[in-house]
Amino acid sequence: MAETLFDLAIIGAGVTGSSIAYQLSAYDTKVVVLEKMEDISFGVTKANSGIIHAGFHHKPDSLKAHLEIQGNLMYDELKQTLDFPFKRVGILVAAFNYEEMKMVEKLYHQGVENNVPRIEIVSRERILDLEPKLSQDVVGGLYAPTGGIIEPYRFVFALMESALKNGVELRRNFMVSQCKQKDGVFTILSADNQAVRARRVVNAAGLYSDEVSRIFKAEEFQIIPRKGEEYLLERNASGFPRHVIFPVPVKNSKGVLVIPTVEGTMMIGPTAEEIDDKEDFSTTRDNLERVFTLAMKMVPMISKKEIITSFAGLRPAMKGNDFLIKISDKTPHFIQAAAIQSPGLTAAPAIGLYVLDLLKQDGMELVKKIDHDPKLEKKPMIREFDFSDADKLISDDRRYGNIVCRCENVSEAEIIEAIKNGHHTLDGIKFYTRAGMGRCQGGFCAYKIIKILMRETGKSAYQLTKRGGNSFLLSHQLGEGKVDTPS
């Protein structure tokens, strides 16, 4: 039997690939998304700071600035349609001396030129009024009320759910390793010899977009991973701010930020360090100290005692520091959506539209679907329910009454919903539901989730992983192997 011939294959199910898939799902066309990992958003996207930037950090003539502003403005409507955690809490840049104030002025003018709405330079009094937890040493700063915060993985889950609902296909654990192009058709082979055929390809492979480009004999470029370490602090943290607080930026980096997350925890970071290894997600003690020193300079109440976890993410940076989004000059019908580093998350919805345009330019026939229905139904979460309404919810489905994750208040029904939507790893369930993301970091709920996963998927405990690959959670059953203790 002939394999399906797709009109488009998107390589990579991070925020870029998923945004493109979401846009394409409105059209009568066959689209497949190929993801090398066990779950979507597990690459660059998941370890993102979760900031929707206001758009004053980048030069007006850059593609970045253009897509950043456009992307930012698309988020309200997306939230209406897809229901993901997003809040426009506003961004503050805090300056601590006269030199820094001069830089603030520069940012302000850049922001005005980029058409950032309602951006203003603020005095010491005003900034302290806006953000009472700022250090008294602050001299003034910049305020951009349209900046916001988001849970990046839940945004990606929502984009993909909507895309899948509207006919897009997703192949997990598909690592692109070879490609043949013949008679206008790409045959894409995975590392384990699955094949997918498509007329066009979008390269949204994040850290590995340089290798994918090479596999398709397209542009030669190099992605340089730039590592960022982040530290997550518990709910009700003493330093929890009202806004996202930025320092005055230095070359190539927006600096260490103090971030209130949408779900009420708090994050500080990231660092910015160019490295060689695309799989190096380690954190170091020195950077922990550095991040806290920098964050506490801005918000002195921040306490190391409130850390619940730390993680590192890699930004897929490239020389020149702009996005690389274009139709390939070398390989026909191959579109690059590469080097999407900060503000990639903010820009993602606009990147989706931009790539849609490129596909049209490339001759792709795009006809709107009549029955396109992007809207996702709001899924009940017990933590968001008013107590008086919860009784009905639980009477309708008893599993909402079984609180599996006590720290973040996540019910069994929500875990099952995650599993039904294809999230079969502990991390996948964590990102989807927040179970295991709180103060105990899964100490109390991991075994419960393991048992629910076994029941719902039919897998054995020893097939279950933290995040796919060989990240097996458990080793073997009691009684396998002999006990031979010294006596």
Partner: protein, 418 residues
Amino acid sequence: MIEKKYHSIVIGGGAAGLSAAYEISKSGFSVALIEREESLGGILMQCIHNGFGLQEYKEELTGPEYAERAIAKMAGSGVEIITSTTVSDLIDENGTKTAHCYSAVHGALKLGADTIVLAMGCRERNRGNIGTAGTRPAGIFTAGSAQRLINIEGFIPGKRVVIIGSGDIGLIMARRMTWVGAKVLAVVEILPYASGLTRNITQCLNDFNIPLYTSHIVSRIYGHDRVEKVDITPLVDGAPQDEDTFSIECDTILLSVGLIPENELSCKIGVEINQDTKGPYVHSNYMTNVKGVFACGNVLHVHDIVDFVTEEARRCAVNVVDYLRRKILPTEFRIQPGANVIYLVPNHYVPGEEINLYLRTFIVKNNAQLIVETSDKVVLEKKLLHVRPSEMIKVRIGEKDLARLSADEFKDLKVSIV
């Protein structure tokens, strides 16, 4: 929605909650005991090793046996046991307390009471809390969660194990991992001495030639998918000696690096937390700053042995009953930590009534002295054979000791260890 009213609601069906609920019901007051799991017993059910009950029952029991004795008392006690139910919120309106609960069995429940006993226990500190550098692979467990996986589910977490921290749970798990066929390669302790009991060092580590590295830290964790290796670095005067770092290949890390009372629910009803214990400040009668809300067991402060939890909960219950009968509060004075004392519980006393004091000290010392004094008079001096931070000190300041103070001399007490 189920709505009910009680004289007292006890939250948590572990050792503390069982003991408190039973004692309150004995006096004829109506009590509900709320437990989130399907069965009572709490963490005791996974502590299948022996060593419990020497104080309480004068015999050595395992955790499940200890729990079963406490649970057996519930039959016919009149305590209403509500299992599979999680309390999500606590509200105090004009002295009436309401607990909002969720349950897969009962739906949403709205339970009212005159008094609430907080007995939710504690949680384990984890890798994030100690800020260990390195990667984030699978294979990192808190000792207690590994204990649960093995002893209740029969799931073995890994084969080659390094344990961070030498608390008793870590030591017990070193033996358990060995007894289920895994190899424990090292126990790494940041302090210059083991945190757990000497008997556990002997029978859980020495019996199996497991090396204990005191004044060492795990400085880095390696492994992309699953744990592959750890770096271990010695400390001299608290400073890491990087050049002496060595590595151990392993697939599993267990953490036994301390426990934190679980007071997120307590905070919802306005209970003030002592940052030294991470538990509520309590009066001599175990009442928190919120009138009618009491606390006992590991939610109040982390105990070394369960027998003390049972005893403390019983004493707390006696005070709950007293409060339910009298509803008046006696005059009180404060008890404050003096030299070398990390924390003490309770934080207040009533003139003329005996005080059962629990405290921990910063120092390690043989033949130490405990001094209880007001600003101008020593109330009690007591010799202590051996003190160290990991062993809780229990002292009774009797009515006789307090009789040294004349009525006008009752005032704030200070407790020191020298």
